[in-house]
Symmetry: C2
């Protein structure tokens, strides 16, 4: 053996195996009183006897599967490559109407009541009372996905199915927070998540944001200067974030920002709850129509590498609880998703599920699992790539509509949008036929940053320029504009809904959340035209 070989052997023997990580640190002091008080459901004591061969179980109140009326369920599902995986010129025409036409290709899945092979998904099991962690087959599929795509940076992480991110967050709130506590959230954030926690007297503590979402420096300031007496609550130990395509601002938190925030959370011992429904809808930078180029297809590895890493990837202590959902990758009515988090939190959440939602719906679990199995892992990746392209086309089309209705000028951002490409939208300069000359470009009416992820464009309407701004106030003006838009035929999400507090002192603009997730092209065109007309009239009133 030559010396080089010997050294290499030694190096291999002493280095940790590739991908090996340390276990999570002890974070059990974060559990709420309610969570600590949860005992293992007494009925689960029988669990250890359930699989003993030959044993006759007369303990559980399980109805006989013979009485389930459903002898099988089946579904025709779209093939995994139903949507183009690249933004070729052809793909822009494929949006929506192609799908509704004759070209839709499907494949079928079927779940029998009784399967021949025990490892196959069957209704006798899926529709019976079962483990709150979910069908083992589906739990394995999502665990494999989390491992491949999110790559948690510690050893003893696990996954647990849940009944959708809203209920998943509800369970996390009850697992981590006591009444009277606060949760760190972005200055503008998802109202349903706030409505979940506020009735338990768990209040939002806002952290300022910029183009990447929550600001690390602002987070540090809040935590470092926490005044328990002035705030009326202990320093928060839970942070809620939608890191990719935040709802409503559309902002996306990059890796360095995530590292900065994570380190602050290590320093101040904060648990990060990462509600990430838009993770795969990462559309990338908006390129104006004229300069737009075809985006090529990607391998799975290129696709995963092109996505902003999850907080899990830097979570070496196990302090991230990640919420994933099938609501955006399949359908909201699945009411199905999964937690990826450390085993200690997963165990406590599973106990909470046992005495409330139990397992997610068996139809949903078996149909979603069968779809994933039918497509295969590469097929599911291909499906996600297709969705990403669809949302990219939608985002592009909506921003294009704004650029046609308004005079967009690209500018370096300030404040909320520091350092990113801000579009200032002014009334379009139109050739005047009477004077046969161009009108000067007017003052911008609103600004926005084309989102790089998610479903939403967040418009910042310059209401400070409205004649009644001083007398009426920004909140009232925003509501007035919302109503005028609705009466003219367009509903956009009014910004006031996304203010997690009653504080308006730092708000000088109106906001509207515009969703491009649904609707037809002509809707976007018509909506932006109406918006332009109503806004111009409103601002010059």
């Amino acid at each position: 053996m030559n010396s080089e070989g010997f050294e290499a052997l030694l190096a291999r023997a002493s280095a940790p195996a590739q991908g090996a990580h340390a276990p999570a640190i002890d974070l059990s002091h974060h559990l709420s009183d309610v969570s600590r008080a949860r005992e293992t459901s007494p009925l689960k004591l029988f669990q250890k006897y359930f699989n003993k061969p030959g044993l006759i179980g007369l303990a559980g109140g399980l109805p006989a599967p013979a009485y389930f009326p459903f002898t099988d369920i089946s579904s025709n599902i779209l093939v995994h490559n139903s949507f183009p995986s690249s933004t070729s010129p052809e793909s822009t025409f494929s949006w929506l109407w192609k799908l509704l036409g004759a070209k839709e290709k499907t494949t079928s899945i079927s779940v029998p009541k009784f399967a021949t092979r025990p490892e196959d998904i069957n209704l006798a099991t899926a529709l019976q009372y079962g483990l709150s962690s979910g069908l083992p087959q589906l739990n394995k599929l999502v665990k494999d996905f989390s491992k491949k795509v999110y790559q948690p940076a510690y050893e003893n992480w696990t996954t647990l199915l849940h009944a959708g991110n809203t209920d998943a967050w509800n369970k996390v709130v009850l697992t981590l927070c006591n009444p009277g506590e606060g949760v760190l959230v972005s200055r503008w954030t998802y109202p349903s998540a706030m409505a979940t926690m506020k009735p338990y007297d768990i209040q939002p503590v806002t952290v300022d944001i910029d183009a990447q979402g929550m600001r690390a420096d602002a987070l540090r300031e809040v935590l470092a200067n926490w005044d328990e007496a002035a705030r009326g609550m202990p320093r928060p130990h839970v942070l809620y974030t939608v890191p990719i395509g935040e709802n409503p601002t559309g902002t996306t938190t990059g890796l360095q920002r995530k590292k900065d925030i994570y380190q602050i959370c290590v320093e101040f011992d904060v648990i990060i709850v990462c509600d990430d429904p838009y993770y795969v809808l990462q559309e990338g930078t908006y390129i104006p129509k004229a300069q737009r180029e075809v985006r090529a297809s990607e391998t799975d590895e290129e696709f995963i590498a092109s996505l902003e890493p999850s907080y899990l990837k830097i979570d070496y202590q196990g302090r991230v609880i990640r919420l994933d959902t099938f609501s955006k990758t399949m359908a909201p009515g699945c009411r199905l998703g999964w937690y990826t988090c450390n085993e200690m939190f997963a165990e406590r959440i599973e106990r909470a599920a046992e005495t409330s939602t139990q397992a997610p719906c068996g139809f949903s679990q078996s149909l979603v699992a069968s779809t994933l199995i039918q497509w295969g892992e590469p097929g599911f990746m291909r499906w996600l790539k297709g969705l990403r392209v669809q949302y990219t086309l939608r985002r592009d089309f909506l921003v294009d509509c704004f650029s046609e209705e308004f005079q967009l000028t690209s500018a370096a951002g300030s404040g909320l949008w520091t350092g990113c490409q801000v579009y200032n939208a002014s009334p379009r300069t139109r050739p005047s036929s009477f004077f046969n000359e161009k009108m000067p470009v007017a003052k911008p009416l609103f600004s926005f940053v084309p989102p790089t992820s998610g479903m939403f464009v967040w418009l910042k309407v310059h209401l400070a320029d409205h004649p009644d701004y001083e007398t009426v106030g920004v909140k009232e003006l925003e509501s007035k504009l919302f109503i005028e838009l609705a009466e003219a035929g367009v509903v956009m999400g009014p910004g006031f809904m996304f203010n997690p507090t009653d504080d308006w002192s730092d708000v000088t603009s109106g906001h509207f959340r515009v969703s491009f997730s649904n609707g037809e092209k002509e809707d976007f065109k018509k909506a932006t035209t109406i918006f332009g007309r109503v806004l111009r009239e409103f601002m010059s009133a």
Copy 2:
């Protein structure tokens, strides 16, 4: 007009229309702090614009149905008359194996993504975000069922879909109770319901029971003599009951008892939460095999009239919250059921659902609704009649097995089982071949009342006769017997699990809950034989 006709006319004009009821009284003072603090989810503000024709909605974050992979779902379901509706000699042979053979008849249901008629169930709606009250079509079906079968005695009752009774109870607890309060429950009761409320520091307050479940006199005594200081909590204002085939005791509360309890609840202002999963599994009185006669088929009206009335039928004030589930009438994995209660409670519970579970799973809602539509209302009634017969055959067979393994002597009950047919089970008298004479009947080993409803036989094992009773104690002996049974190959539900308190001072027997809901005939036969052998050895140890 003759005077008789005139008086009749006057009487008709002044009397309330047949079936008309008064509205619910104001019960809003029962709401918990958490429930009062719930605001309408801000996103629902848009709801009123959603159905305006021609309006372009860019406010909601709804994914386009074109991206739902499921283009349809379908299922082969058992025909509504798959099980015999009478206990004819033929029907006893039909139990289970007939179903698994070639004779199983099915019909098919199918739900398309897009339906031609807007009133038809479709996946574009069922799999989209929707009303937390559930699909309107399904909500109407269950409301019609509640009206026909439960017949609430006040005007403004309503129904609301939920994700199974366990979560429904969880939401009721959070809607009605503050931490530190107590809930009235039967002395032996369903452990999962207790495990749901205890972590919120809501403790069970037990009320003694007899053969009809909770005793009215015992309830009055608890409420009338409530000592807040001694009990360490205010007088309870919520009562939890499983009135039909109570879990675990199998007891059923008759109409007069219900009226007595209801009036006490009126007097002491208590809300009755009626968890009633076994409602249609009303098997009736057990008749020993030799005397058993054929039970004839029934019309729907006879069937409904034969069922113990629900608490709703006497609820003239709107203080009953009834929980129904499809877990026993279809399958537990549906995770689907409904509340029947007054509008005020329904509204608060719906708000709670919006920020947690949202709507029940769309697959489940659409498949269950399609099944109900396919069968039609008479078909569903026929299905329920068939299930009742199946559970009757199962109950009969299990009790028959006990009567073959033991010497059963029927006796008037005492204590828990006052006034009903108690079977005392002694070791079977066997002819002795050696002495050619019969052994005397030994002392009874256990007693039980054949249940008239539900899934469970509740055995009262006379552990006071065990040699170690005084030294070891009843709880330890019961656990010891449970383990010996499990090691011999049978698991029965040990009584200690169903004690909602740590109080054992009034317990002198061991208990086992034996479920006849699942398993094959030979399992019951084998299990009772093993039970006989192990129990005889155990008691003579």
